[in-house]
């Protein structure tokens, strides 16, 4: 038990280091000198060198990386080039918006998809199965930003049930906030139902074929009990892992949905920063999202033995 958890925890540290190094290097690949960019063409070489030294840019790259990482860990991600605002609080502020949509979407999608996938697997090759798999594949194939636009067109513009643009935070007005995040969340739920249902079905199909299920049936256990008590615990483990990946992928690609619904989330912050060439924000957003992804997957793995005790036996 302890060894599995410890081992998994320890492998996370090099991953986090490598991810932060990649982000660090990526931004340094940008053509042009950041200081020249900051000061404009008019700056003379002497001033540029002075500022480079002040920012530590004359140090070797690993020293720069170390210093940058130490600051990042202590919560200092630098300041925006365009308006001088501290990056870390900005990211946390925007993250609340993205996190509320993504978390609700994954929770709802999972609670719909797992039973749906299990029923489809239980009735494998029946009409129900074909409809569920077909529907899931169709949902899986819709680009989130297009589905979002269609929902916006239908419920926002034609029916006028929800506001089309804008956002208020939950702290200000939670009912208002709900109306703004309703459509983006529904969009993500529909998309993710496709992915998760197919996974839940596939893993249940594999489990239902095992001998212990036949044994349980031969014992005369009811079908409901076979599914809930015998199949679910084993069939859920792969879906659980998938949920971590889904959560991370949603956060990584949330910008498109936030663009459709004009939500001030983390993805939009990153994309706006890319347009503004605001490298501290780009760096901060990428680092934060990638770290979050690694940590979410770590937590998913740490909880994995709850669903599949076999990993502990190794």
């Amino acid at each position: 038990m302890g060894r599995y958890l410890l081992g998994r925890l320890l492998t996370t540290i090099p991953t986090l280091l490598l991810v932060s190094f990649s982000v660090f290097v990526l931004i340094r690949l940008v053509p042009g000198d950041p200081i020249v960019l900051m000061l404009g063409d008019a700056a003379d070489a002497e001033t540029v060198r002075g500022i480079r030294e002040a920012y530590g840019l004359e140090e070797p790259i690993y020293v720069q990386f170390g210093l940058w990482l130490l600051k990042a860990i202590s919560g200092d991600l630098g300041h925006s080039i365009s308006n001088g605002a501290a990056v870390a609080p900005l990211i946390l502020d925007r993250f609340q918006v993205s996190a509320s949509i993504v978390l609700i979407a994954v929770l709802v999608a999972a609670s719909i998809s797992v039973p749906l996938g299990m029923i489809a697997a239980w009735r494998q090759n029946s009409l129900t199965d074909i409809l569920v798999v077909g529907g899931a594949t169709l949902l899986l194939s819709l680009p989130s930003f297009w589905l979002g636009l269609l929902l916006l067109l239908l419920f926002g513009l034609k029916l006028g049930w929800v506001p089309v643009v804008g956002y208020v935070s939950f702290a200000e007005n939670w009912q208002g906030a709900l109306t703004y995040i309703l459509l983006p969340t529904v969009t993500l739920i529909l998309i993710e139902i496709g992915v998760v249902t197919r996974m839940a079905r596939a893993s249940t199909v594999e489990v239902l074929r095992l001998e212990y299920i036949t044994h349980a049936r031969a014992k005369g256990v009811s079908e409901a009990s076979v599914l809930m008590r015998h199949a679910l615990p084993n069939a859920f483990a792969p879906t659980w892992t998938l949920l971590g990946l889904v959560l991370g992928n949603l956060l990584g690609g949330i910008a498109v949905v936030e663009t459709v619904f004009t939500l001030p989330g983390l993805g939009r912050l990153l994309v706006d920063a890319i347009f503004a060439r605001d490298y501290p924000i780009i760096q901060g957003c990428m680092l934060f999202t990638a770290f979050l992804y690694v940590i979410v997957n770590l937590l998913v793995d740490l909880c994995y033995p709850l669903f599949d005790p076999r990993v502990m036996a190794e």
Binding site: L18, S22, V23, L138, S141, P143, F145, G253, I274, A290
Partner: protein
């Protein structure tokens, strides 16, 4: 049961293949001909609704949506093909090298590989586009780099599991060079998983490219892609909904085609999953 299962798989393959064939056919025709010039501005046709002359209507500059969707199909599929080719070639080469050499070269390459795999979704491609800047070849490079690591994984895994087999040993004993042995005897084993991966990757790239273009970080306008057509359609969603429906439908049809075909392929290559 098997009969039903079999026809179900066939139906997947047929529908998926048909959808993809339509899109690829439209893209192929767009090389030589589109009904109108996809970039041709015609102020008299602004916001023209769908009609016999223009089955999908015209956009805010009076450009024909069908012609633009066809040109977009050409852009999207060629970007996707180039990206998949890039990822498969680089990934296979790296996977063979790491799997074969092992030792610290393997560890170094896999470290970088795992670091790149640790970025979720299109985040890495977004970051790379920030560095490269939006253009058609930049997006191939960015998405290619983002998707190479998964190919490396698959190829390296195959190499590691195969390299000690007797027939590989036999090839060495016969005096065949290492590179020949790798390409002739080890690599073909990676074909099935690579085919499944490349098929799904084609779909992911189509989706990622349209997402990036939708955000304004992909292929820049006026060159039409499905993603930037959708982005341009956003302000006219209510007054001219056909502008937003056509490109989205194209993306969805392509992805559905890929997913159905991918399912059929997986069923065929991985009999474990067949019912």
């Amino acid at each position: 049961m098997t009969g039903l299962r079999f026809s179900w798989r066939r139906a997947n393959a047929v529908i998926g293949g048909a959808l993809l064939a339509v899109i690829l056919f439209a893209a192929a025709i767009a090389v030589v001909w589109t009904p109108f010039d996809p970039l041709g501005i015609n102020l008299r046709a602004r916001y023209a609704p769908p009609s016999w002359l223009r089955p999908f209507g015209a956009d805010e500059f009076g450009r024909d949506v069908l012609s633009r969707a066809m040109a977009g199909a050409l852009t999207s599929t060629s970007v996707a093909l180039l990206t998949v080719a890039f990822a498969v070639i680089c990934g296979t080469a790296l996977g063979l090298v790491t799997g074969y050499l092992r030792g610290w070269t393997d560890r170094a390459i896999m470290m970088v590989n795992d670091a790149l795999l640790a970025f979720p979704g299109i985040l890495l491609a977004l970051g790379l586009m920030a560095v490269i800047g939006p253009n058609r070849y930049g997006i191939v490079l960015a998405l290619g780099i983002a998707y190479t690591p998964s190919v490396v994984r698959v190829v390296r895994g195959t190499v590691l599991s195969i390299r000690e087999r007797e027939y590989v040993e036999a090839s060495r004993v016969l005096g065949n060079g290492e590179i020949y042995t790798m390409l002739r005897h080890v690599l073909p084993n990676a074909f099935a998983p690579l085919a499944v991966l490349a098929t799904s990757m084609f779909g992911w790239v189509i989706l990622s490219e349209s997402a990036l273009s939708f955000l304004g970080l992909g292929v820049p306008p006026p060159a039409p892609t499905w993603g930037n057509m959708l982005a341009a359609a956003r302000p006219y969603l209510e007054s001219a909904p056909w502008l937003g429906i056509t490109p989205g439908l194209c993306i969805a049809a392509t992805l559905l085609g890929i997913n159905l075909l991918g399912d059929a392929l997986r069923d065929k290559l991985d009999p474990r999953m067949a019912g």
